[in-house]
Symmetry: C2
Subunit: 628 residues, 2 copies
């Protein structure tokens, strides 16, 4: 038997594995989450593990090129390139499921708490010879309802009624009894609001009696192992229909683990969670339900469904009350998903009387415009650059991530939690690109200057030594290797700048296209809501500097955080808002950018970074040194 | 290992068994159906097996008393008393699941075929960039419907649509799409109507396009192993709640096997069976759905539900189309079940303008009265005597069963299929009791005369030698042992006569009680529908002779056969009739006999057999000799 043991720290989880397999394969088979946007092709350099003990295949040139000398010294390897030759002890280097702090909150307008799930305590008279109608009718009479009844309610009813001496609590979904409990349990009623992102999943447990959020947790979408964008997931299902079930299982597992985490932290019994409301892009909603998104991937991009769907939690294997339900918010088209519907509801964009925009920056960027009875949305493939994926040193907004950067006479950075820097997250990436543009180290075409070129610039800051390498291998060193060994070398490469450029080009072209088709001038815009997982820490100045949004809008921007989860929470807590979401989805007109005349030219013109370097730095954030 | 093999002929099924176990236990564990109304107590003498080879415990006095000398010679044993001591080959003697011919047909009024299940072929336009609404909306538009959608439909939809080039057949239940099929399959659509009796289950497969019955089959309810009446089943569930699932599984297995049998005979693919409609008494409906009937068994006899229920076939494990549904007809109370609701619909009793009765003779007897806006029903525990159970030589209406008896100068019998007699079924039992009463061999108190007493009667037929035994052991020999060995000795015992007397007393008292409470005289009755599993061969003269029905009604009787299954068929084929059934169930007033003033006195007076021996024999049936 060529079986060996791989021990993963800090949990000390032991995996039995086949000798010769790659660590990535072994971790995937054990369902451990590790980022690998290139799907194990050895290109992205993301799947880092630190090998602490044991025999491993030796490092080859290609792999070494994706690691710093310091990392190599520390025994850091790419999981996709390292093969096990005997028992191994390792830890996953990239922030995993337990140490991530993703933007979890979203703004919400006021509304009355009137959830779809209600719990009602009743104490009907027991049957008598004079009144021997059925058990279920006795209950319906108390509740003043009548209609379809679930078989499992009927199965548990006779015994529950009598063991509780006819004192029971009925759990209703709308006007339908979905479950019964002995005694008065009306004080225990919870729901879950979930935002299922392509890259990250955020869940909150909400008290349905008070509307109060009990706890929140977030994690990588376990599907990231199949690549970082929506199309890579769709491609999986096109190649092999059975993959739909597998991809569904991954989201479900992620969601169940988040619910479990919150319940454990807040001492809540998940049997009292009766409903989960989910929002996400159209592909994620399809996959969550186990419905193939294959045809969203090819023209004319038709989804299988659009209206909101109510499904038994058990049917999806969502681990809440055994009679719990799952409501999926409606989608508007194959590329305008429930996340933007939820976002529109949370920002009340659809009620705007003056021209307003909602820009949701995610792996799939979505832009919605509203004014009076107009509600138009488009979608663009921004890529996950602003979520920290597909960027050499990119990471999610976890501790140690650089979230802000200023370049003056030196380079100043701020990390989340003020910890040693281990990478850079979305807001940090936007900042560094804006700063490089302002100081001239990157030109408007997005090219990083060489040391020699940079030294030609009059009044340049003293950062030329941070420009390394030639042409496409060129990079800007944000954090230099520290002698103490703390923190890693963090840089931004020419390729990274191209990723950012493509993302901002895509988003900006969407904004331009939607405004042009609606005949709206920039100056006419009243409000611009900016939503996304990059955080509330993003500087609108940087967004304007890099041209992601027009400079004229920078002062109008309202950061709304995770508006998708905020909308899901509203639909969980208010029946009226749930109906409103359905109405919003129906109202949205879809603007297909590939249909837009000369879209390619518009996109190309949006790729260029702005000539003038934005406004002056005037931020009050406290910055630490970069530990040089 | 003390394991031996029991081989059951004619199927040659081999069962591994523990040495020392009773054959009854072994057959039950292998789920082979064998009648054992006394549940293995060694009292009823029904669980006969013929041991052909092998070692078996020796016969004891008690068992031998329940077998004839000829049976003992042939190696016939009671399965509950015989224990295996080594490998054994045997066959089950009592007619089993495959050779029974139960009354399967029922009369039906005219109605328009408009089933709840519809199949519609559509060929929608594929999506385009101009029209990229979702797949499901595309279909709903063609069908002009919109509403809740099943998850499994959405899961199969995208691929089915495209593989069939947008030519699909939708299966609708009411206004809801429950399934889709590639191409045009509208010519293949079937349903099943089932009557779930306490003792017997009858199923028919019906063509939903034409309303034509494709095939019918019937079998013992596998639950009979737990005793012959409704109360014995309820008691099982009271002792142990897990039994509900087991009893449900038994009915489901019986129903699935009947469907399989018909499909095999008629070459029908069960995937084209989309709906099953079930009728049965309240306890059977509860058990079929896996809902505990425990509280039907105790005052105030409250059922768990009354309205009709629609359930997914898969949820009940009914083996029809994977998206098929099961509709259970409504019940009126704990003891007025869906069978009587169906029967009322099939006979249109509820539309009677003049006083009319429906008498459904089953293990549980039910009587319904209707006149103008009155609709009243009561229920009485008749016992299974008229279905051939709890009678020494009783059997179901299978080949070899004596179905008619005449006593003149000799005893003439007619068997089903004109085969050698092996027992007596319901109509035969009614006949023999009527004939014994007429010739004076049984007195009006139900006592069988001794030879000596009988010989005192002037003008007596020459049958005195057929009266055997003393007091409670006395019996009347219907078929004497034949030297050829063909046929068994068939008799009717004093105990059997008591069973019949109790059954007729219960039914007659129900009839009297309902008429008295409704203030109706016998002469006022316009129609009397007689339904039940004893067959259309029953002579109304015999029923009047024994006093089961008043003599005045004999000429008004309309035999309607299995009206429960007829009603189920109507509900399967007509949406209007299904609604009508719900209305009937709500209209029925329940008359609780135990509430009726002085019911015990009424019942006692109904036990007595009528003084005058009914009308003269004037039947044209062809009778064979009794093979003396």
């Amino acid at each position: 038997m060529d079986r060996i043991e791989v021990t993963v720290l800090p949990t000390r989880k032991v995996i039995k594995a086949q000798i010769g397999n790659s660590i990535l394969q072994i971790l995937h088979e054990a369902d451990l989450d590790i980022e690998s946007p290139c799907a194990g092709e050895g290109i992205c350099g993301k799947c880092k593990v630190q090998v602490l003990q044991g025999q491993i295949s030796s490092i080859e040139e290609e792999e070494a090129g994706l690691l710093s000398a310091s990392e190599i010294t520390q025994g850091i390897r790419l999981a996709c390139r390292a093969h096990v030759l005997g028992d191994v002890k390792l830890s996953i280097v990239v922030p995993g499921i337990n140490d991530i702090r993703i933007l979890e909150q979203g703004n919400m307008p006021e509304f009355t708490v009137d959830p779809n799930i209600r719990k009602v305590f009743i104490n009907p008279n027991p049957p008598s010879l004079q009144d021997n109608s059925s058990d279920i009718e006795r209950i319906e009479e108390e509740l003043k309802i009548s209609g379809e009844v679930r078989l499992d309610v009927l199965r548990s009813l006779p015994v529950t009624l009598r063991e509780s001496e006819f004192k029971i609590t009925c759990v209703l979904s709308g006007e339908k009894i979905i479950g019964i409990e002995e005694g008065d349990t009306t004080d225990k009623g919870y729901g879950v609001a979930v935002d299922i992102g392509t890259t990250t999943v955020v869940a909150s447990v909400i008290d349905l009696n008070t509307g109060r959020e009990i706890g929140t947790a977030s994690a990588l979408n376990a599907q990231v192992k199949y690549g970082s964008d929506v199309l890579s997931r769709i491609q999986q299902t096109r190649r092999n229909l059975n993959k739909v079930g597998e991809l569904k299982g991954m989201i479900v597992r992620t969601v169940n683990s988040l619910i479990g985490q919150i319940c454990a932290e807040q001492s809540i019994d998940r049997k009292y969670i009766y409903e989960l409301v989910a929002a996400g892009n159209s592909t994620m909603m399809h996959l969550f339900l186990g419905i193939s998104p294959s045809y969203i991937g090819v023209s004319p991009y038709a989804p299988v469904f659009r209206r909101g769907l109510m499904v038994k939690a058990r049917e999806l294997e969502i681990d809440i009350s055994e009679f719990g339900e799952v409501y999926c918010l409606p989608i508007a088209s194959g590329y305008v998903g429930a996340d933007i519907v939820a976002g529109i509801m949370a920002t009340e964009l659809h009620k705007a009387n003056e021209p307003s925009l909602l820009i949701d920056i995610g792996t799939n960027g979505e832009i919605a415009f509203s004014c009076a009875d107009k509600l138009v949305a488009c979608s663009c493939a921004a890529g996950p650059a602003f979520e920290g994926a597909n960027i050499s040193c990119g990471m999610m907004a976890a501790e140690g991530a650089i979230e802000a950067v200023r370049i003056g006479d030196s380079v100043r950075i701020k990390t989340i939690g003020n910890k040693a820097s281990i990478g850079i997250c979305g807001s940090g990436t936007m900042d560094v690109v804006a700063e490089l543009l302002k100081c001239g180290a990157m030109n408007t075409a997005g090219r990083l200057l060489s040391q020699e070129e940079f030294l030609q610039i009059p009044g340049r800051p003293a950062i030329a030594h941070r420009l390394w390498g030639q042409d496409r291998q060129r990079k800007f060193i944000l954090v230099e290797h520290s002698p103490s060994g703390e923190g890693s070398v963090v840089h931004i490469s020419q390729d990274d700048l191209r990723q950012v450029q493509l993302a901002k080009g895509a988003l900006r072209s969407g904004i331009e296209a939607i405004l042009i088709t609606q005949g709206v001038e920039l100056g006419d815009l009243s409000k611009v809501f900016l939503a996304g997982a990059f955080g509330k820490k993003v500087r609108s100045e940087s967004l304007a500097t890099i041209g992601l949004i027009p400079e004229e809008l920078a002062s109008n921007i309202i950061l709304v955080g995770n508006s998708s989860k905020a909308g899901a929470t509203m639909a969980l807590l208010s029946r009226k808002r749930r109906e409103e979401a359905e109405a919003i989805a129906e109202r949205i007109q879809y603007l297909e950018l590939s249909d837009y005349p000369n879209y390619e030219r518009l996109f190309a013109s949006c790729l260029v970074f702005p000539e003038k370097g934005g406004r002056a730095f005037c931020h009050t954030d406290k910055f630490g040194s970069d530990r040089e």
